[in-house]
Subunit: 138 residues, 2 copies
């Protein structure tokens, strides 16, 4: 049995975040000492590691809730889990696509101005003022 601080150190999840996860229902309410402090065991550590990993991969709290529920029922079909992962993948790919489009425009803008001119003639500012300068939609 160890404290929330120890759990925090082992998982690299900040203490207030652990409490937040508990409040959100991601972590079951921890056991308490007589003085009302949380105590965790290996199971708690594993659950939090799972959550942390899923968050690192960009899954929402809501998605993680579903994943955990599934994990707690080993006999159920894992179809929902795959669905969530595939949706997350689609989400990530959509974000990459958008960001790549932005990157192209930003490169063009940065190239167009060396910063030695005057605001009035600045290519960056002119580009922001008029989307027509852009080569792609974004």
């Amino acid at each position: 049995m160890f404290s929330i601080g120890e759990l925090s150190r082992r998982t690299k999840v900040k203490v207030p975040t652990i409490r937040y996860y508990e409040e959100m229902g991601l972590l079951v309410e921890a056991e308490r000492t007589s003085g009302n402090q949380r105590r965790y065991d290996k199971a708690g550590l594993e659950r939090l590691s799972f959550i942390r990993h899923a968050r690192d991969l960009g899954f929402s709290i809501e998605a993680i809730l579903s994943l955990i529920e599934l994990q707690e029922h080993p006999d159920r079909s894992c179809q929902a889990a795959t669905k969530i992962a595939v949706a997350q993948l689609a989400d990530v790919r959509a974000k990459v696509k958008k960001l790549k489009a932005l990157e192209r425009e930003l490169v063009r803008m940065a190239k167009g101005c060396d910063g030695h001119g005057v605001s009035e003639d600045c290519y960056v500012l002119a580009s922001l003022a008029d989307h027509e300068h852009c080569e792609n939609e974004h």
Copy 2:
């Protein structure tokens, strides 16, 4: 002179968002009718278009504030503008890099499970439980 709704239609920025931008100091306070409704002109339209374009490119409100201030002083050096754009580009590139790493892991997970198994044996869930499955850091 046109209403906030008309401005919204022309810029594709929602009405409450326009009011929010005004509150944040991005838009100068609009003229009002005798009945206290906002009225805009071409200058207002151009400023909002600038803001919208910058937001679309991912610039923060704070960054846009600086850009607008610069725009209002045509004689100033545009160094700050370039700096902001370059920082934004770096930010976008960092995000892309992170997302690409996530994409690789998510592809692996999605490939590892067809969704026809049982939760206990699910590769997606196993991968989330243990980062050791991952091929890259993320």
